[in-house]
Amino acid sequence: MCSAVLLIAAIALAGAVHAQAAANDPPHVPDTLKQRIASCTACHGERGEGTPDSGFFPRLAGKPAGYLARQLKDFQDGLRKYGPMEYTTRYLTPAYMREIAEYFAAQEVPYARSPMPRIAADALKRGEELATKGDPSRQIPPCAACHGTQLTGVQPDVPGLVGLPYDYLSSQLGSWRTRTRATVAPDCMAEIANRLSVDDISAVSAWLAGRELPADMHAQPAGSITPPLHCGVLSAEARP
C-alpha cells in the first residue's frame, strides 16, 4: 500500500517535472525546408495550396519549378511589383529560391473550384476561341500554343492555366498591361496581354477558370511545344 502511494507520488512528481521542463525548454524546431519557409506558407499554405476562394494568394502547388523560381527572381528584381513579395525575396540567393520553387512544384494538391463571375454565353465562347484558336486578325496566339494542349503547363517554365481562379487569371493579365507584372525581355505575355481587349481578358479568364479539369493536371514534358513568339523566359540563358 505504502509503496503504491510512493509510486503514484513518484509518477506524479515525474510528470510535474516533465511538464515544468516542457514549459521552459527551448522550442523544438524541425530542420525542414517547410519550417524554414514559414514566411511563404503563412499566405500560400503549407503545401502551396493558396486561397482558391478569394484567389488573392496564388496557388503554387504543382506549378513548374522553373516558372516558380523565375517569379521569385522577378519579384527580387522588381519586374513584378508587390511590396510584400519584393521584401520577402530581397536577400535570397538563386540556389535557395530554386530549392523553394522545387518544394512547391513537387506538392500534389487537388484543385479546388473557385467562384465564377456571371458571364454571358457568347463571352465564354469568345474565351474558348481565344484559348484554343487565338485571334489571328489581332496576332493573338492561342493559350494552348504555349501552355500545353490541355492547358496544364509545360515543363520547366510554363505554368498551367486551368484550375486557377478567375480573379487570379484576370488580374495577372491586367497587371501585364499596367506593368506591375513583367519578366525578362522579350516579355511575350506582356505583348499578348496588350493585344487583348478588356472584354477578352474577362472572357478568356472565365473560360479557363470554369473549364472541366483534365484527369492529369501535370505539366506536359519539356520540349513538347514550339512557342509562336520568342519569349525571354524560355531561353536557357535567362534561367535563374
Partner: protein
Amino acid sequence: MKIFRIGFAVVVLAGLGVAGWLFLRGGQPSVPRSASQVDAAALKDPALIAKGAYLTLVGDCASCHTGQGGARFAGGRVVGTPFGDIPAPNLTPDRETGLGEWSFEAFRQALHDGVDRNGQFLYPAFPYTSYTKVSREDALAIFAYLQSLAPVHQAAKQPGLGFPYNVRNTLKAWRALYFREGEYVADDTKSPEWNRGAYLVQGLGHCNECHVERDAFGGMRSDQSLSGGQIPVQNWYAPDLSTQANGGLAGWSAQDIVDLLKTGQSAKGTAFGPMAEVVSRSTQHMNEADLKAVATYLQSLPARPRVSYQPSPLDTKPILDQGAKVYAERCADCHGRQGEGVAGVYPPLRGNSSVNEPTGINAIRVVLLGGFAPATQGNPRPYSMPPFAQQLNDSDVAAVVTYIRQSWGNDAPLVQERDVIKYRHTPID
C-alpha cells in the same frame, strides 16, 4: 516637421544671401583625366584592382549604385531623403554617363570632399561625411577597380528635389554645419586592430550614416557616434552599437558581432530590413581580420547613460494581458515562452536591441512583414518569420509588441495602435 522645413528654408535662404556675397562658386573643379598625376598603367595592376573590389564590398558601394535588377555599379537606385529623391549615379567607366572621363584626382575629390569633378557640391545622400576618412591609397584601389568594370551606358536620373534644396550651393551652409573633411588619423594609444576597426566603421563602412539620429536638417551630431537613430524615409531604427552598459548591444561578445556581420545571425539577434541588405551585399564578404577589428572597436564604445522612460499614463495591464495571449498563440513556438529564441535558428527577443530600441518601429514592422534572415555563405538556407499583417489587427500588433518590449527584463515604452497604423503602410523600400 513642416515647421522645421520652413525654418530650414529660411536658414538656407539667409545662407544663400551670405553665400552669394562671400563666395559665388561652389567647390573647385578637379583636374581632367588627361592631366592626372596617376599613371594609367598603374591602375591596371591586378593586385590593386582586387584590393579595390574588396573595398567596394566593405563600403557597400553597389547597394546604392545598382538599380533593382540592374547592372552592377551602373547606378539607378533612388535614395529617398526627407528633402527629396536622390538617384545614385553610374560608377562604371562609361565615357558619357559614368566615370569614363574622370581622373583619379576627381574621384578622390568626390569621395574626400563631396565635390564632383566640375566643382559642384554633392548631396550628402552620398556619405562623403564618412568617406572623407578613407585613405588616398584605398581610394586609388577603389578607383582602379571601378575603372576595370565593363562600361554600361546608363544616364542617372535628375534628383527629385524642390527649391531650395535643388540649389547645390545651399550645401555650403550644410557643409559648414555638418561636414568635417579629413582622413582617419590613427590613435597611437590604441592597438592596430582597434584602429583598423575604427577606420572601417567611421570611414568606408559608413555605419554612422544610419546608426546616428539625424536632425531636422538631415545632419548628424558629431558627438553621438553610433548611438542609434531612426533612418529617415526608410523608417527603420538603427540601434545603438555600444556593447557597454545600457548600450544597444550590451552583452554582445566580439564573436556575436562577427557572427551577425558574417552570417546575418548571431546568438543575440538577426539582421533584417536595411541591415539584412548590408550583411548580404557587404559585411558577409569581409575577411575575418576586418570583422574582428570592427568588433574590437565597437566593444570599446563607451557605456551610455541609462535612458529613463516616462511611465505610461495608460493602464497597461489589459494591453499586456492581450499581448501575452497573442504571444503564446503566435510567437512562443519559435521565440520561446521566455523570449529566449532558438540558437542558430530564431533570434531571442529577451535583451534584443531591436526589440528594446526606443521607437518600437523595428518590432512593429517585423511583426507585420515577417521575412527571411539574409541568405549568406554562412547561412545559405535561412529560417523565416511569417508576416502577420494579414492575420493580426492593429490592436493585437500593438499589444504583442508592447508585451515583448516589457517582458523578461526588456524595458522599453509601450507602442499604440496609431503607431501600428502608421507603419502598416510604410513602403518597404
